[in-house]
């Protein structure tokens, strides 16, 4: 019985029929990606002000990169049911792609302990986070 429950609760992704459901999944994806981006910003802020340990920053940034990658993977696996959803998908992908690649670059820099370049790499994150949050609010 509990196994059945865990399956239901884990929100397995099946085909999506209505564009409404697709839209809410897109909003949810944006929200989760924004959360990972915001976490990365805080971690970089701590690292550049020497307020965290190198290993802790590396671990935090590794997690944000993995989270953003997973969320994008799940979203891309959902077939958009109609033309309007196609448009939504490409609009969101324009945000997800740079976010994921920036977080991956940050992870690499953090693992090397290269704090200086982390600040530079993280520069676009603030704008991205804002756009992702706007997307989430617009389509929730």
């Amino acid at each position: 019985m509990t196994l059945l429950l865990l399956l239901v609760v884990s929100g397995c992704t099946g085909p999506v029929r209505s564009s409404g459901v697709y839209e809410s999944k897109a909003a949810n994806t944006a929200r989760k990606t924004a959360s990972a981006v915001a976490t990365a910003e805080l971690a970089v802020q701590a690292a550049t002000h020497d307020r965290t340990f190198g290993r802790t920053a590396a671990q935090t940034l590794a997690e944000t990169a993995r989270d953003a990658g997973d969320v994008q993977g799940i979203f891309d696996s959902i077939q958009p049911p109609d033309r309007r959803s196609d448009q939504l998908r490409s609009q969101l992908d324009d945000l997800l792609q740079p976010a994921v690649s920036t977080l991956e670059d940050l992870r690499t820099a953090a693992r090397r302990g290269d704090v200086e370049s982390m600040a530079r790499i993280a520069a676009p994150l603030e704008k991205l986070a804002g756009e992702l949050q706007d997307f989430d609010e617009a389509h929730r």
């Binding site: 429950l5 989760k32 915001a38 976490t39 910003e41 701590a46 002000h49 290993r55 929730r140």
Partner: protein, 409 residues
């Protein structure tokens, strides 16, 4: 009068011992998502565990009977066994979550994958339980766990909008864009994290382990009346720092690293070190409490000799159950199930199962044959009954909410 050191030690241990991985995850997630709109649940939960633990401690001190011995006597063998299976499963789930929590804390300090630490954590937990005397074990990790007080100081250091915080706490409203079911699901998770049943199994068995008598009721009362609220304050501090730093940024925490961010921003490396040590000590201490509670519940139901106050050879089946529980908990984490997700399920199921063990303790605390003049006072009976009804409502609402909100997803 028990000497002051004993009383003080009990209080400090109760503070450190109150917080575990469930409190850390629930308080941080709630603070980041709802600000302080659910702070009132921490007050309700802390009061609830105070009532439950005080009764269980008093019953154990006066009648020498720990919780699961009473569960079988008052509910009968059949209901008692069903109760045992449910409570044991949930305590085992919590044990696995605590072992996972310890490994995550080490991973956060070393950036080495937590799965590598899990077997080591399991072994060290067993060695500590097997070798260290009860009081040394309980006090050590409870005291180190006080390092979490850094979260309390971080609130001041982060210069929050005090008025805003107070308003959000005193006028709880569901934030725009959040569903009511999700709000109530988080409320139940928070209540389950504050009122963890294993803490009562451990607290009442600990009273027998330490051979409490009438004279120790003072310690029972101070531990509960001073230690638990301050423990609840630590959980509130975790919620506040998340509300101050994580909520405005839209961070929805699902890792320990996010919970530690506010402290490292406030106090830098020293603060982060204290937070990591505190998290490690609390989750490790809770792992000890949960694996022992697995042993206590089973041994007390079947009537086997149990406890660390006797030689291990004199309580073999108790120690076999503790050993197997640690093994099972460790293997469960090694299945790579996310420890944070595991924690969320353990605290929600704990909330649902609370009435099962709360009821028998309430009954015996009213029985003059067992308690003599130390039965519940009229006032405590009224409050205890209100909580029984609350817990029944919670246990009915838990599973539906779990499904509707996809575990708060």
């Amino acid at each position: 009068m028990k000497n002051l050191v004993q009383v003080a030690l009990g209080v400090l241990t109760a503070i450190g011992g109150f917080v575990d991985i469930g409190d850390i995850v629930a308080s941080t997630a709630t603070g980041a998502r709802f600000g302080l709109a659910l702070a009132w649940v921490l007050v309700v939960g802390t009061t609830g565990i105070m009532i439950f633990a005080e009764m269980a401690g008093r019953v154990a001190a006066i009648s020498g009977r720990p919780v699961f011995d009473l569960v079988r006597e008052r509910l009968g063998a059949g209901m008692g066994l069903a109760n045992l299976l449910a409570s044991f499963f949930i305590t085992l789930l919590t044990l696995a979550a605590e072992i996972g929590g310890v490994a995550l804390a080490i991973e956060l300090a070393t950036s080495v994958n937590y799965l590598l630490w899990v077997p080591l954590v399991g072994i060290v937990v067993w060695v500590v339980v097997w070798r260290l005397p009860f009081e040394t074990m309980d006090n050590t990790f409870g005291l180190i766990g006080l390092a979490l007080v850094v979260f309390l100081f971080a609130i001041w250091r982060l210069h929050p909008d005090w008025a805003g915080l107070a308003h959000s706490a005193l006028h709880p409203t569901v934030p725009q864009g959040e569903g009511h079911p999700t709000y109530w699901y988080f409320a139940i998770a928070l209540l389950g994290s504050a009122m963890s049943p294993y803490e009562v199994f451990f607290f009442s068995s600990g009273a027998v382990e330490q051979r409490w008598t009438r004279r120790d009721l003072i310690i029972n009362r101070t531990n509960v009346l001073i230690g638990f609220p301050l423990g609840g304050l630590l959980a509130l501090a975790l919620m506040c720092t998340a509300a101050i730093v994580l909520q405005p940024q839209g961070v929805d925490p699902s890792h320990l690293s996010q919970a530690a961010l506010p402290v490292s921003l406030a106090f830098g490396k020293l603060g982060l070190a204290l937070a990591l040590i505190g998290i490690f000590a609390c989750t490790f201490g809770a792992a000890l409490e949960t694996c022992l509670s697995c042993g206590y519940t089973v041994a007390q139901y079947f009537g086997w000799q149990w406890g660390k106050f006797v030689k291990p050879a004199q309580a073999p089946r108790f120690h076999v159950v503790v050993l197997l529980s640690i093994l099972a908990g460790t293997l469960l984490v090694l299945t790579t199930i996310d420890p944070i997700q595991l924690t969320e399920y353990s605290i929600v199921l704990a909330a649902a199962a609370l009435p099962l063990t709360y009821l028998p303790v309430l009954l015996v605390a009213n029985d003059r044959d067992y308690m003599g003049d130390k039965v519940n006072s009229g006032a405590s009976n009224l409050l205890a009954t209100v909580y029984l009804l609350l817990l029944l409502v919670v246990s009915v609402a838990t599973i539906p909410l779990l499904v509707v909100t996809k575990a708060g997803g």
